[in-house]
């Protein structure tokens, strides 16, 4: 099954899991399945059915914007990476 790589900023939705396998044949289906299993997560990724402007989605090394967008087909071993814009350096974490 394709695997969704969940960015650290959204792992609170997945119980900390960084990888979620989904039975899906398109990116859109994969996100639907992700949200079914982890309700609310896709609202942080999509807005009005489109990918939010500060988030990009890649299948393997390729931006879906250069493919077929959310309708990009997925193969059995594809990895779907959700990559948000981030800033960093200010705070610290205490759990590591």
């Amino acid at each position: 099954m394709p695997t969704i790589r969940v960015p650290s900023a959204l792992r609170s939705f997945t119980g900390g899991a960084s990888d979620v396998e989904v039975a899906a044949t398109t990116v859109r289906d994969a996100l639907t399945e992700l949200d079914r299993r982890h309700p609310g997560i896709v609202a942080r990724i999509l807005d009005g059915g489109n990918v939010k402007p500060f988030i990009r989605i890649f299948v393997g090394p390729d931006d879906i914007g250069g493919l077929s967008g959310l309708d990009t087909k997925l193969a059995e071993r594809d990895e779907v990476a959700i990559v948000p814009a981030i800033a960093g350096g200010r705070a610290e974490v205490s759990d590591a």
């Binding site: 914007g65 814009a85 981030i86 800033a87 200010r90 610290e92």
Partner: protein
């Protein structure tokens, strides 16, 4: 031999390792940061000590670079529309090491408009991103469009060693760009969790049609190959 020059925006957790490694590599540095060293910085901004508390970060980081034989000047300044031309003047590569999304876009936009190579570095929790930018390819604004609601460390925090690791990668990318290496241009290095793997996901993206930053770019790509400048 041509002297390479870089401007580093931010003298904190990312800017420290970037400045020290580029300075040791012989790159002349302009370091800009308006902030002062605080006790809460020391666990991840390891270029500073308790002796630096309340001192201007940019000047103290420049002192560290110079003490190790490098050349650097530190300026207590924010990157803005008013200061960008001064701070970026003469730089072969401009590196954003700030913790502010708006600054990242401003640095990238200025670099694109002025035909400069640039690196945008960011760290969050246990990972981070490093983008290698240059005129003629998709820019940071092509990638993320605008700085709204981007997750920050204020939301999720960052582990101290993460910024050193991401900063090291950013320095290596910046050095390659400054030397005219085009192989990395347009690549986004995504480090998802350095506790698990140091191997980045390397992704590329196309220019976004209608990107306002790219519309202000010089008409010709300005990035020469090393062989063309020496």
């Amino acid at each position: 031999m041509t002297t390479l020059r870089a401007t580093i925006v931010g003298a904190g957790g990312l800017g420290g390792p970037i400045a020290i490694s580029l300075g040791a590599a012989g790159v002349e540095l302009t370091i800009a940061d308006h902030d002062h060293v605080e006790l809460s910085n020391l666990h991840r901004q390891i270029q500073f000590t308790s002796m630096d508390l309340d001192q201007p970060k940019a000047a103290r980081l420049a002192d560290v670079v110079v003490a190790q034989g490098g050349a650097a000047r530190g300026l207590a300044a924010r990157w803005s529309a008013d200061t960008a031309d001064q701070l970026g003047a003469g730089a072969d590569v401009v590196i954003d090491a700030s913790d502010d999304p708006i600054t990242k876009f401003a640095v990238a936009d200025w670099a694109v408009a002025n035909g400069r190579c640039y690196v945008i570095a960011a760290a969050l929790r246990y990972g981070g991103n490093v983008m290698a930018g240059a005129p003629g390819v998709g820019c940071y604004r092509c990638l993320f469009e605008e700085p709204i609601d981007a997750p920050t460390c204020a939301d999720a925090g960052v582990l101290g060693p993460t910024v050193a690791a991401i900063g090291g990668v950013a320095a290596a990318v910046a050095l390659a760009l400054a030397r005219g290496d085009r192989t990395l241009i347009g690549a986004l290095f995504v480090f998802e969790d350095l506790r698990r793997t140091a191997d980045p996901r390397v992704v590329r993206f196309a220019p976004r049609p209608g990107c306002p930053a790219c519309a202000r770019a010089p008409s010709l790509p300005v990035v020469p190959h090393l062989a063309e400048v020496r």
